[in-house]
């Protein structure tokens, strides 16, 4: 397990700006997401090898022989677990009445949908990468995903700029810039590394 300096700085900023409840509301969906990946890795008979927290997110490494569909399932399991967590938290709000449950449900929904965007190194990009490589071959599949990643980042940047001009803040523009930066870095291409 490795926690990079960037992740530690990000965590420091979150601890500073968020209340205890808000921090919990954010950390629980992140745990659900990563547990989804881990559950799929174990269920498919693969071996988890490492976990890294960086400024761009979390990276789960695993090893083992499996087909493209299995790797795609591992990628999809995180957002799926996040969506299930969001539904469970929203339903529990009616039973428990905890004030932070709608927040954690909404955060989990937003994180899962963002993660499903067709851009690397997000899970949606990983999922499409596996399928594209299986159908088009490795080189053409990677090229297609690189193009899709740039297109998605450019779309987010354009949307972010439009929102900024309407006084809706820098958030989406920064998310688009971070995605573009990740797509430009070859090392950032693969979020869940397969170790042979």
């Amino acid at each position: 397990m490795e926690i990079g300096a960037g992740a530690a700085f990000l965590f420091a900023a979150l601890c500073f700006f968020l209340t205890g409840e808000e921090l919990l509301a954010l950390l629980l969906p992140l745990c659900a997401h990563e547990l989804g990946h881990l559950g799929a890795i174990l269920a498919l008979g693969l071996r988890p090898r490492g976990f890294r927290a960086g400024p761009e997110g979390f990276t789960l490494s695993y090893s083992g022989e499996a087909g493209a569909l299995a790797h795609a399932l591992v990628a999809a399991a995180g957002p799926l677990a996040g969506l299930l967590y969001a539904l469970a938290a929203a339903r529990l709000q009616g039973l428990l009445g905890l004030s932070w449950l709608p927040l954690t449900a909404g955060l989990s929904l937003a994180l899962s949908l963002f993660n499903l965007l067709p851009a690397l190194p997000l899970d949606g990009g990983q999922l499409l990468l596996q399928l594209a490589c299986a159908f088009l071959g490795e080189r053409r599949g990677e090229r297609l995903l690189r193009l899709l990643s740039f297109a998605t980042a450019a779309l987010l940047l354009a949307l972010g700029a439009a929102l900024l001009l309407r006084g809706r803040g820098w958030g989406l523009l920064l998310a688009g810039a971070a995605l573009l930066f990740s797509a430009l870095r070859p090392a950032g291409l693969v979020k869940m590394r397969k170790i042979r």
Partner: protein, 69 residues
């Protein structure tokens, strides 16, 4: 015991920020409000609305009276 400076720096920053938060809560609230307004104005309310919309009773209520769920 050898100390990894790269790991100590973020830890020191976390402690420093938490200490600052404890000592100056009003200033921290002001900073938080400014950061939220700069990054995602109204984001918390929007995300909470998304969360509430996932609850089944909210969805039925949103459809209005006399309509099938």
């Amino acid at each position: 015991m050898p100390v990894d400076e790269k790991k100590m720096l973020p830890l020191a920053l976390i402690l420093l920020l938490l200490l600052w938060k404890l000592c100056f809560p009003l200033e921290m609230e002001r900073l938080r409000a400014r950061a939220e307004a700069a990054l995602f104005p109204g984001a918390r309310e929007m995300v909470e609305t998304w969360g509430r919309s996932l609850a089944p009773e909210e969805r039925v209520a949103a459809q209005g009276p006399g309509q099938a769920p």
